[in-house]
Amino acid sequence: MTGPLENDWLDEDRLDEDRLAAELARVLSVADPVPAAVVDAARHSFGWRELDAELAKLVADSRLAAASVRGDPGRLLSFQAGDRTLEIEVTRLDDRLRILGQVVPPGPAQVRAEQPAGTLDVTADHLGRFTIDSLPPGPTRFFCLPLGPDGAPVDAGIVSEWQVL
């Protein structure tokens, strides 16, 4: 197929910008398409919508701090919802993450690390501290349900914004 349109697309002045852009769009869609798994993951993320917990916004992230020290202990994240705070320290060991968490105000809580691939439940002690030893990296959020003296949840709890850990 060597009709004039096919043939001339490279020729200097005949090729207008929009035509080159259209050729590039086509080539990009073939050479670097959005992977089907990425689109599927986006569709399936809709299942994470339902939640009564209050959203805890990221208020501090050492990754975004101007100065980063070589060999620093880990990434420190701080999420806040109202007067509640969730402090998270992330340390990377090979291809796994170790999480040290602190619920503020301190107190017992159920904590769930949620990732699209699965969830992991731990308990924060009476000082609000919890540990997750081996978490795969990737998009993660923390759902925190503070417990009253009777061991029952005091309310719907808080959930952190999604972060890539």
Binding site: L10, E17, L24, V30, P35, R43, V164
Partner: protein, 199 residues
């Protein structure tokens, strides 16, 4: 179009999976292009895409202007991508577009999918452009509408008015690379890039 988009966001916020899927179909290419335009590997780009969609999900009820959805997604993806680059420490913080490309992680290999020689030439010429030109062209060829320009401006952190002239310079540079590869015009190695100097 605008009414469609507004009602899609409202429907998705009300729990309509079909509306959510329609939003994903409409903008998946944009979010991917933002991440790849910042030179993330395919694996990191996939994480950035997923967290961007999860962020939209948790903010569906808070989206003030559904018409600006593309810009919101582009801004969120850009922020996440730059964060990922910092975490990887592959690039100086001030210049997120100078990342180390993990082309070997990029499926599928372009040689296998671009069967026509001229398509391969175009892809190779594109890859020789500056990172900024590549990022800009990825976004603008994907969606050359007004909404696409607004999203590209957000993704590139550039004024929308400068996109058109820059697009023209990047396309001209692309054409020069193509001609050089074909032995037409310039015959020596480097072809000027034409990204406008920073002020």
């Amino acid at each position: 179009m605008r009414a469609d988009r507004d009602s899609l966001v409202a429907a998705a916020a009300a729990g309509d999976q079909g509306a959510w899927d329609a939003i994903v179909n409409r903008y998946a290419g944009l979010v991917w292009a933002v991440a790849r335009g910042l030179r993330l590997s395919a694996a990191d780009a996939a994480d950035v895409c997923q967290v961007t969609w999860l962020r939209l999900l948790e903010n569906l009820n808070r989206i003030q202007d559904p018409g600006a959805l593309g810009s919101w997604l582009a801004t969120t993806a850009r922020r996440e991508a730059i964060g990922t680059l910092r975490r990887r420490r592959e690039v100086p913080v001030a210049e997120p577009d100078r990342g180390d490309v993990a082309d070997e992680q990029q499926p599928p290999p372009w040689q296998a999918v671009l069967v026509r020689e001229r398509d391969q030439e175009l892809w190779q010429a594109f890859r020789r452009l500056s990172d900024r030109c590549q990022a800009l062209l990825r976004l603008l060829v994907l969606d050359p509408t007004e909404g696409g320009y607004a999203a590209a401006a957000a993704a590139l952190d550039m004024p929308v008015g400068s996109l058109g002239p820059t697009r023209a310079r990047c396309l001209a540079a692309l054409r020069r690379h193509l001609r050089a590869a074909r032995g037409k015009g310039e015959t020596t190695g480097e072809v000027a890039d034409d990204w406008p100097a920073r002020e």
